[in-house]
Symmetry: C2
DNA sequence: TCAAACCAGTTTAATAATGCAACCATCGGA
DNA sequence: TCCGATGGTTGCATTATTAAACTGGTTTGA
């Protein structure tokens, strides 16, 4: 792969997110963490990824402030990996990914789980995007505006 | 091994989405396409990726029904790449990625653009997740339920 | 209390996925 | 007809990902 081009300093926030959590494993690790998984071996067993990769990913997620390590908690002398608020903030992204799959996958019958609300046990609605004055927006109803002034040579991207 | 593990037949919808569009470039290609970009050379110029990679990604996106090729359109004899409904359905994922970056990025001042609603030009609200009866839900208010019955040996994942 | 199993990695050697650059065929315009 | 843009393809070098073996500390349990 050759030095995966980094988007860390790209001015597009989507690229920046992808740079942080846009690989196959990071997203799934966060998914598991949202489920309460916190131990190295648990991640490894549930995801079935190579341990060296898990080591690298966990370290990267910690460095980025998405996970933090807490020394022990359930008695044993090992440490655990816990989500920070930034990590929990990934939840809507996971919901969006899930709903896209539910809506467009060619084999939805292979999907094992449904996201429900805890109180009633019923499926949740689709994610909704509203304007400040409460109108439901679709992609076509939105546009991108430069944050302040367009800098010289600064290209406006999504 | 090696052979990057495919999640195509994983029973987790998040994994399935990631399998389809979970690489750095596919998501950005779709972002550009949502902006109306449709020509090979335009993608290549705006994203700055190698042409062979672009070729492979575009073909994969077409195979998955996210893009479709339309022979010509603006006169020239070349083809263009257009989003299908499935492709446009990626929009909420991009919004979620964008908002995560806006909320948690350490250098938000480097972010060049803001998503606004076209009518008023004001920033949009955060994506919201509701229960069927209209309660606003956070991650903690949700749970996963097996789709029908848990199959023998079928592990329930997110 | 001593061995066996578990935890959390690290190392190694293989293969697969990028990236860059160069090449090539076709189309369109002057 | 010739030149540049378009839309790729091919080769090669580099890097990532992986399984498997190995390590060293920690629990468990007989």
């Amino acid at each position: 792969m050759v030095k995966r081009t980094s988007f860390e300093h790209d001015d597009c926030p989507i690229a920046r997110s992808l740079d942080a959590i846009g690989d196959w494993w990071s997203m799934l690790i966060i998914r598991e963490a949202l489920f309460g998984i916190s131990r190295f071996s648990e991640f490894q067993k549930r995801l079935g990824l190579a341990k060296n990769i898990l080591t690298v990913r966990l370290r990267a997620l910690v460095d980025q402030g998405i996970l933090k390590t807490a020394p022990a908690s359930d008695g044993s002398a090992y440490q655990e990996y816990l989500l920070t608020p930034k990590g929990r903030g990934v939840f809507p992204i996971l919901v969006a990914l899930r709903q896209w799959s539910e809506e467009f996958d060619e084999h939805p019958e292979e999907i094992a789980t449904i996201l429900v609300d805890k109180e009633k046990g019923k499926p949740v609605r689709k994610l909704e995007l509203y304007s400040q004055d409460g109108r439901l927006l679709s992609a076509a109803d939105t546009a991108l505006k430069p944050r302040t002034v367009v800098k010289q040579g600064g290209r406006v991207t999504a």
